[in-house]
């Protein structure tokens, strides 16, 4: 939701500052006159969205908030109104729950390592495909983007083969050169990096596609000017490409971060949170509490903690990476 306000906000500001068109006051008057009529049509056109949004988003969001202050459990499934109000109890308990804190740490680990890796590699792939590689460019683009559209279950099966410690691809390659590969998914040290590697590979395509679009929007005359002034490839990248790609990178970073903070599928299908909870993420912990143990109140509180974290980080990113050049 906050994503759309990012790119849209500067535009709106630009419109407001524009001198022509009779100024603010004139527009306001006109808007007022036809407000109700416009609104009616507008509301009618948005009904399908509003109904779906209300039923599948707004109601659940509010219900979850309410539930997070109750001890809603399995018994309350048939008697929902008997759930007791427990105030902030769920929230205080969360921060004394070792498992949740571990999940929070693991999620942090996943984001801190995964997001920069995805962005850097995605950008690299985009630059290479945009400039360096001319033959079979489409093939490469499809190749990098294919993991994004492949279902996670299929991906998990393949990666399990690749990472298998006894007859997996990596283990076999390692034994060819006389090394022993670690048991990637079975070791507490290696399980998380393995999942991160898989997530980076899976999400790199999205970042790449965004960056290619961004790169093609950079005017060639700017680059030409830089080259005439004697800029090398590295200087061009630092001085031209990255600054002009900033809005794209911001957007890519924000969606990747949100996606990674919600990470669920990778540990769910690959490790089930193990070994010894080393890949247990907040979403997975929430799923377990909610659907395996039926602590709906507690799981809802978790959902809200995660929501606040995501909100906070997103706002922070939008602030920090905002385009200050305009």
């Amino acid at each position: 939701m906050s994503l759309t306000t990012g790119p849209a906000a500067p535009q709106a500001a630009a419109v407001d500052k524009s001198p022509h068109g009779g100024g603010k006051a004139g527009r306001k008057r006109r808007a007022n006159r036809s407000l109700s009529k416009h609104n009616l049509t507008g509301w009618l056109f948005s009904t399908p969205f509003l109904v779906l949004f209300g039923v599948f988003m707004l109601f659940p969001i509010v219900a979850t908030l309410l539930m997070s202050f109750t001890d809603f459990g399995a018994r309350n499934v048939t008697r929902p109104l008997e759930a007791e109000f427990v105030g902030l109890d769920n929230y205080t308990r969360l921060f004394q729950d070792d498992k949740f804190l571990k999940a929070l740490f693991n999620t942090g680990y996943f984001v801190v390592v995964g997001v920069p890796a995805t962005i850097v590699l995605g950008l690299l792939a985009a630059i290479l495909l945009n400039n360096g590689i001319h033959r079979a460019r489409t093939l490469f683009r499809v190749g990098f983007y294919a993991p994004v559209v492949t279902t996670i279950v299929a991906v998990a099966v393949v990666w399990r083969f690749v990472l298998d410690p006894s007859d997996g691809l990596i283990a076999s390659l390692a034994s060819e050169v006389g090394l022993t590969a670690p048991d990637f998914l079975g070791s507490e040290t290696w399980a998380m990096p393995s999942l991160i590697a898989m997530a980076v590979w899976r999400n790199l395509g999205t970042v790449m596609v965004l960056c290619i679009a961004g790169l093609q929007a950079i005017p060639t005359d700017v680059r030409e000017a830089a080259r005439l002034d004697g800029a090398g490839a590295w200087q061009e990248l630092r001085g031209i490409t990255i600054p002009l790609l900033r809005p794209t990178l911001l957007y890519a970073t924000v969606i990747t971060t949100i996606g990674y903070l919600n990470v669920f599928e990778e540990p769910f299908v690959m490790t089930q949170g193990g070994p010894s909870d080393s890949t247990l993420t907040v979403s997975l912990d929430m799923y377990r509490e909610g659907f395996n143990f039926f602590h709906m109140g507690y799981a809802s509180a978790m959902a809200y903690v995660l929501f606040v974290v995501i909100m906070g980080i997103t706002v922070l990113q939008l602030r920090l990476l905002k385009d200050n050049t305009r």
Partner: protein
């Protein structure tokens, strides 16, 4: 994205729950057994697929009935049942996995079993116990499941093992012999950690005379017997006899075939699986009762059939359940599925009475133990899973791990 999905599902459950209270129960006196009606039945996994054939046969003798069987995958079964219970839309007859029963009985959505048609003495004690919660029986035992020792007889010869290990001490020396003399990579396959590790541990726990919840319904997971059992379990990992890390979805039969794993504890469905997938392995393996410690006690699993408390077709549903759990229905069911009958009368004829392999299962089932039905059973066993994992990974002693589990479980037992 995923958070939204989860939130959505949480709220949908609540929404349907609210709808239920608004509409109230469907109530009513119900329809007589011989009236024209449709019975809805939900069954899981293989049972769900095969029950449809039985339903067709049943319809032939009960022309007033249409029996509609809906198969449900085990992976989604729990969520589906919870959502249906919340909405008051449970089918007339539903298959209840052993671990579900306590939870649903506690919600008050199941009808107690009719003691006039279903008698406790007809079934294995452990099977009956799984259908009971809080002094009442809600599920008629349908089929049972237990674990016995599967072992490679050809490799046993090489290792100098003459007969199946009879005691826990024998089991460990057999594992060592397999590894040293027969060249097996591992000695015994037991689960080191993760979800449902407890199912692998039950054989050690119960045989040592321990339990998670004792007969008085109190948490007892740190008893001396349980600590001893977990020390024994952990020693297989310390000595390198069992693999310390096992991937989710690990298929033991593959390693059993190659000989990397010469022994494991498995359920009845594996017999067919091994025969079908590895025909070359025929006559190279056998089953034996769980090696004895204080006694030879295995875990009991399986499913029972319950009738929904809201059902309008209770009379006809009771007749169907009585048929399925009676001797004739049980024998027929065994022929179709190889599920072990819960009704002991079914074991008196045919293969069930004559086949020596079946006698191993029978013998194990007589003493097998079920975990008492508890509404929070999944959560309770997950605490034991964690305790086992910390021992197999060498992070804590058996005593410490079980003391911790005990204190957590005490708060969950009802």
């Amino acid at each position: 994205m995923n958070r939204a999905t989860a939130t959505g599902s949480i709220a949908l459950t609540l929404a349907s729950a609210l709808t239920l209270t608004a509409c109230g129960g469907s109530g009513g006196a119900g329809v007589a057994a011989d009236a024209k009606q449709t019975l809805t039945v939900w069954a899981m996994g293989t049972e769900g697929e095969k029950l449809g054939d039985v339903a067709e046969e049943y319809e032939k003798t009960h022309s007033n009935l249409t029996v509609k069987v809906t198969p449900i995958g085990w992976d989604v079964a729990h969520q589906k049942l919870v959502a249906a219970a919340a909405a008051g839309k449970l089918p007339d007859v539903v298959q209840m996995g052993g671990s579900y029963l306590g939870e649903f009985a506690d919600m008050g959505v199941l009808e107690p079993v009719d003691s006039k048609t279903i008698h406790e003495t007809d079934y294995f004690p452990a099977a009956w116990q799984q259908g009971s919660y809080d002094g009442k029986t809600y599920g008629a035992p349908w089929y049972v499941d237990t674990r016995v020792l599967f072992y490679r007889t050809d490799l046993a010869k090489k290792a100098g093992i003459e007969k199946a290990p009879a005691t826990m001490a024998d089991l460990q020396s057999a594992a060592e012999a397999y590894q040293k003399k027969a060249g097996s990579k591992w000695g015994l396959s037991i689960q080191p950690g993760g979800l449902d590790t407890v199912q692998s541990f039950y054989q050690f726990l119960y045989s040592a005379g321990g339990a998670i919840i004792d007969d008085d319904g109190k948490a007892a997971v740190n008893s001396a017997a349980a600590v001893k059992a977990l020390e024994n379990y952990g020693s297989y990992f310390d000595k390198g006899l069992s693999e310390k890390s096992v991937r989710p979805g690990y298929d033991v039969t593959k390693d059993f075939n190659t000989g990397a794993v010469p022994m494991f504890f498995g359920g009845p469905w594996l017999t067919n699986l091994i025969d079908e997938n590895y025909p070359d392995l025929k006559d190279k393996w056998a089953v034996a009762p769980v090696p004895a410690d204080a006694a030879s006690v295995s875990m009991a699993g399986g499913s029972s059939l319950a009738i929904s408390a809201d059902s309008d077709h209770k009379a006809a549903a009771k007749e169907l359940v009585a048929y399925l759990t009676g001797e004739k229905g049980q024998t027929d069911w065994f022929e179709r599925t190889n599920d072990l009958p819960a009704n002991t009368a079914a074991w008196t004829s045919g293969d069930l009475a004559d086949d020596p392999t079946m006698q191993v299962w029978r013998q194990q089932m007589d003493t097998a133990r079920a975990t008492p039905s508890q509404p929070k059973l999944t959560e309770i066993t997950s605490k034991v899973d964690t305790a086992i994992e910390s021992v197999t990974q060498g992070k804590s002693s058996a005593k410490e791990a079980l003391d911790k589990a005990q204190s957590e479980i005490e708060g969950l037992v009802q």
